[in-house]
């Protein structure tokens, strides 16, 4: 049997197995999602835990304001700590690969034009 025949056989078997496996997975996932669906809108919500007690003298609005202030303060500290050459805030990139890809797609297909 020549190499080309072997290559064709590998293609038929390989693609066949890949399709079969993924079709099986698709079926199993569809079943899984069907039988283990999250509560849809309108369905009764499970009994929730009692609302947390606020510290004395603080209501929900005050807690929210403090949370926002703390986040803003941390953001300022991060910016101050970052070198001026940095393009992104430290800690904001789960993956540079993903970030670069996203930036490219949302701007232009063409390569950089400098100058």
């Amino acid at each position: 049997m020549n190499l080309l025949d072997i290559g064709l056989q590998l293609t038929v078997y390989g693609m066949g197995i890949v399709f079969f496996l993924l079709a099986v997975m698709a079926g199993l996932i569809a079943l899984l999602v069907k039988f283990d669906h999250a509560p849809a809108a309108g369905e009764p919500e499970p009994a929730s835990a009692p609302a947390p007690a606020f510290p004395a003298g603080l209501d929900a609005d005050a807690i929210a304001a403090i949370t926002i202030a703390v986040r803003a303060h941390r953001s300022v500290l991060r910016k101050q700590a970052a070198p001026t050459m940095r393009r992104h805030q430290p800690g904001t990139l789960p993956s540079r690969w993903v970030a670069v890809g996203r930036t490219r797609q949302t701007t232009s297909w063409r390569t950089h034009r400098r100058g």
Partner: protein, 372 residues
Amino acid sequence: MNISLDQLLRGVLNVTPGSLFMLAVGCVLLYLAIAKEYEPMLLLPIGAGAIFANLPLSPMIQPDGMLDVLKKAGVDNELFPLLIFIGIGAMTDFGPLLENPRMMLLGAAGQFGIFGTLILALLLGFNLNEAASIGIIGAIDGPTSIYVSNLLAPHLLGPITVCAYSYMSLVPIIQPPIMRLLTSKKERLIRMPYSQRTISRRTRIIFPILVIVVVGTLVPMATPLIGSLMLGNLLKESGVVERLTGASSKEIANVVTLFLGLAVGSTMRADAFLKIQTLGILVLGILAFCLDIAAGLMFAKFLNFLSGGKFNPLIGSAGISAFPMSARVVQKVGQEEDFENFLLMHAMGANASGQVASVIAGGVLLALMGAG
């Protein structure tokens, strides 16, 4: 004590035209990484590794040199690609795929480039193991390419890895022309309604376990690849090991990426790299990418025919492993025709499927080749 001039100039005297050329190749890789930002995480260490390996009498590639140690520690035994897969799994959200499981089939179609390129490589005179290793570039998945080619044709590891990573960064350039060529304007305008389903936490946790058990049982050779990918995803979705998830997707992935890049770069020595074969691999690599995208599109056109014109074929081109770049390209091209057409979430499902499918296809190829 006699110190001869030859001894002092040993480095200069051992410079060869081949090593000079490979130093230039290393510099080109550094340029692509730094100036063009083509997969800089991998191409920069690979370029540096290539330079280290081609400096005259480089102690770094001698037995027990740093690059030799890294290669033995993580490339020869396939450890590094698997550790990277744990990180990828921890970063990947399979939600869009769980919301729309039929997109799984598009991921399968997007693997045709592997086998199509295998046949082309055989026609060009590569032997079967080499052809399979070149074909795996069509997985459009760096770690899978490294894993498979290291098992089947370790002497081609350098060019195959460079191909896989550098072309992957070109997906936004390669994909749109093929999409426009193989689809009509009418097909590109097809709108697909999207209704978001809430996927329960339990389903998200069961999914990786299910994939590991099913794929691991049916194709044992795929277990290391799919197991690592899904382990990372399980860490993420379990929600109870935030530190491990963070470490896998950040610290471990970053450190291993550096080590892997340097080790792969060290295989790009002039005597192994400067062959006519390398040129063939570079050409076949880009063909593999094109075949993947084209096959995905054609399969989606078939689905469109079956559904009576309700399936936008552009989504088929996202059935590859370049996640989430490929899905975003689909959205962009779709929006060029109809600004209010929202294909992104469908394409994300196909793209997540491509991620799983490429890993499975790598395992299937190894099983068919009788490797391991």
